[in-house]
Each structure stands twice: as C-alpha cells, then as structure tokens.
Amino acid sequence: MKISFSGVSKIFEPDIVALRDINLDIKKGEFVYIIGATGSGKSTLLRLITRELLPTRGNVYAGDYDLRKMRKADIPFYRRDVGLVAQDFKLIPTLNVYDNIAFVMEAMAVPPKIVEYRTNEVIDQVGLWRRRFMKPAQLSGGEQQRVAIARALANSPSLFIADEPTGNLDLKTASDVMKILLAINAAGVTVVMSTHNQIIVNSCRQRVIELDQGRLVRDEQSGGYGRNDDF
C-alpha cells in the first residue's frame, strides 16, 4: 500500500504542535524506519496512518483512501488491510494467544475452519505454537510482541505499521522480531516502523525518515540512525 502525506500538521489542544507541514511519500513494498527523539512526532505520524488521529491541516492518503474524508463505515475495512503492532502490544488480557489472533478474522466473518487454519499458521510463523493457549500475562515481552505481530499478519495486510516494536525487548529478541518484519516486507508488504533502536537501524539498512520536534529533518535511502552514521 502506498502512503502520502501532503502538508500535514497535527496540533493537540491547546497548542502542542506534534507535526509540522509533513510532505512524504512511501511507495508500495517499501521498508521505512521513522526515527527521532521522544516527543518528535513518530507515534503521531503512525496514528495518522491508522486513522486514530485526523490531521489539523493537510491530507493523508493511504492506498485509494483519503483518510480525512474517509466515511466512518469504511474505517474498519481500511484497518483490516493495515497490520498494527504497538509498543504496548495492545493484546486483550482476557483472551489467550489463539483467541487474540483469531478474533481479528472473526470480526470479518471468516468461517471458523479458515480462522482456525490461518490462526495456527501465523502462530507457527512467529514461533509460539507451544504458547497458543496461554494468556498475555503468562508470556514474556518478546512473546507478547510476537503475538501482536501474528495478529497483525492474520488478515494478510498490505501495510504493516510497527510502533517501536523492539522498544521493550533485549537485543536477541529484538533481532528475532526484525527478522519477522523483514520477511513480511520481502513478501511485498509495506512496512513503516518507528524505533529508537540504533543497532537495528544501522544493521538492517532501509529508508530512514527522521523527525525532530514535529519536522521532517531527514529522508534518506539506506540510511543509518545518526545523520553521519557516527553511532
């Protein structure tokens, strides 16, 4: 899925400017890192793509949708094509791993047999087969993150949004998560990932978009974390 930001600004009441005049194009099938200090606007940018937020000025386009003008009834259908992985995992604590993943497809009225097959498939893909009947609280941070990734994969999305997916993970687990994300991207899915992890950005070179106080200050193909790669 292709994404475009056209003159996008986001101001939270009363006067907190999260993003200022962002112009950006992300091509279909690209892997993009969004980097920047805390409060630079990374999460706001991702939440504009998932349409949790609306821009104060400008427009955001995703695929065939103008997200500002999108009808309410179209939002769920758009989101089914967007796999979302949040830093806090956003898993439902009362459901086990299997049900956390399955309910995304159930909401689309997918027949139970297909739900079962596809859920088992993605659980296996992220290496959680033996944990499939455990509740989120019984899993480690890395495992919860993998459940979130499996859930995002369940609907075979064409856009994958990951908001600091390695933020709470050790290097080994973060590396495992990155392998999964790169594999997803290799299958033609657009991946937009915000991160603070310099090692990952520097070791898996992809397009880097850097934000600073809501401004886009760098857009570099195969870039590293630092402006001069000095980390």
């Binding site: 609306l54 989101r79 967007v82 309910f103 909401a107 009225a109 139970p112």
Partner: protein, 296 residues
C-alpha cells in the same frame, strides 16, 4: 450467519464474565416489571369497574307538560355525551313505579290525572360528562326537571382519575427504574471492556460487530426479567382475584378473570421488557462506542 455465531459467543462471554451483575439486573428487572404488570392489571380492573358503574349511571329528565316530548328526545339524542335514551310515557312511568313499590303500590292510586310527565332515562358514555349533560338538559326549554346521582358521579369520576394517575406514575417509575438498571449494567460491562473495544476497532472490527453482543446482553437480561415477572403475575394475579371475589361478591362481574386476556397481557409485558432492554442497551452502547472510536 458466521458473524451471528461469533456475536452470540461474545454475548455468552459477557454474561459469564459479569454473571453476578447480570443476575442482579435480571432480578431487579423482574421485580420492576412485575410491579408494572400488576399495577397495569389493577388499573385495567378499576377501569372495568368504572365502566360498569358508568353504564349503570342514569340521568332522569322530565318533560314539561305542554312541551313536545318527541322534539325533546331528538335534541337529547344529538348531545355528544349521550350513549342511549329510553323514553317513558306517563302511564309506563306509573306502572314502573308501582312495580318498584311492590306491596306499597296502593299509595300511588291517585284520583284524577296521572301526575308523572313524559320522561327520559339517559345513559352517558363517561361519568365525567354527567355534570355538563345536566347543565345542557336544564337549559332546554322542554325539560322541567333533571334528577341524577350527583355525589356518586363525582366519586366515580374522582376514583377514575386517581386510579389513572396512580397507574401512570407506577408505570413511569417502573419503566425508569428498569431502564436505569439495564443501562447501568451495560455501561459497566462496556466500561470494563473499553480497552478491548478500542483494540477491536483498531484492528478492523466494525462498530456493529463490537456493539451487538452488548445490545443483545441488555435485551436478553430485560427479556428474562420480563419472563420472571410474567411467571410472578400468573402465580399471584388469579389467586388475588379469587380472594377478592370471595370477599367482595359485588365485584364478580367487574374483575378481569379471563385466562386468554391475561395470557395476551403477559405476552405484551414480555415483549415490552425485551424492547425496553433493547432500547436502553442500544442507547448506552451507541454513545459509548461512538466516544471510544472517535478520532482525535
């Protein structure tokens, strides 16, 4: 069909998750709907009694000696409040009176002309109309005198009015309390799952898919409460009616004691309970889901 299966399963999960709250809602709804049902039946019985009394309420109008009684009858029949008019000639009236007097009818053997004029026995639609009817009759040039049971009319009207007001107040209170309890239960249910609802919406569940299990939960609780209320009414109403009929025999023909009518009433009550549950749940769910899924 698949979606409906998932929705029913989610509703089951909701009921299981908050079963104590659900049970309390069920009991409260049952008690309030029972009160509503019994109050309505009481009111219907009072109305029945009043309509019987009203049907027996008669205004007697006497025609002046020199007036045309046919014209007077025509005028009376044209009045809106009049349900029926029976005309009695002087001789018919005398015979009727003699029959009423029985053994003492000898006192009516008067010499000379029969003093009773042509007169009308007038039945009204509604006891409240009697006062106006009497005024209208008194104003007619053909009418000499009007006789009616003034105090009875006033008391019947007052009883009718009080009964209607009490029934209305009880009805409103029962509906409000039942609605509030269902509303509150669903609101707590929603609030405890607000994070889950947010996540569901974020990963592509439609509002309808999210909201329907909650609406069904509220509807089912109110419907089951109504069924309990119906059972309670069937167990208490008929013994109550029997008791009244034994102790107050004059009420025999005024009390609703037809099993078919009561059964139909119970069906209505169950339907009303389910509708009330659906409306309350729908309102609270629509408001909640709207607020939680609104983009900033």
């Amino acid at each position: 069909m698949t979606t409906f299966r998932y929705i029913l399963r989610d509703m089951g999960r909701l009921l299981f998750h908050h079963w104590i709250l659900g049970l309390l809602t069920l009991i409260t709804a049952a008690v309030m709907l029972w009160i509503l049902g019994i109050t309505t039946l009481f009111s219907l019985n009072i109305e029945n009694l009043l309509s019987r009394l009203e049907s027996e309420l008669v205004v007697q109008a006497y025609v002046k000696k020199d007036a045309n009684h046919d014209e007077a009858e025509q005028k009376i029949r044209e009045l809106n409040s009049v349900y029926d008019v029976k005309t009695y000639s002087p001789s018919e009236s005398l015979a009727k009176l003699q029959e009423k007097m029985g053994n003492q009818s000898g006192v009516l053997d008067l010499p000379g002309e029969n003093p009773i004029p042509w007169n009308f026995e007038i039945h009204v639609h509604n006891a409240n109309d009697v006062e106006n009817l009497v005024k209208e009759l008194s104003a007619m040039p053909e009418i000499d005198d009007v006789i009616y049971a003034g105090m009875v009319v006033q008391r019947v009207s007052a009883l009718s009015s009080v009964s209607s007001h009490v029934a209305l107040i009880m009805f409103i209170l029962s509906v409000i309390i039942t609605a509030l309890v269902v509303y509150n239960t669903i609101h707590i249910s929603l609030y405890s799952r607000r994070e889950e609802i947010g996540i569901m919406y974020l990963v592509g569940a439609t509002r309808t898919y999210i909201a329907t299990p909650f609406v069904l939960e509220g509807t089912l609780l109110a419907f089951l409460g109504a069924l309990l209320a119906v059972a309670g009414i069937l167990m208490t109403y008929f013994p109550g009616v029997s008791l009244l009929q034994e102790n107050l025999p004059f009420l025999n023909t005024s009390l609703i004691n037809d099993y078919n009518i009561i059964t139909r009433f119970c069906f209505l009550l169950a339907g009303f309970g389910a509708t009330l549950g659906w409306v309350c749940s729908y309102i609270v769910v629509a408001r909640f889901v709207h607020s939680i899924t609104r983009p900033e």
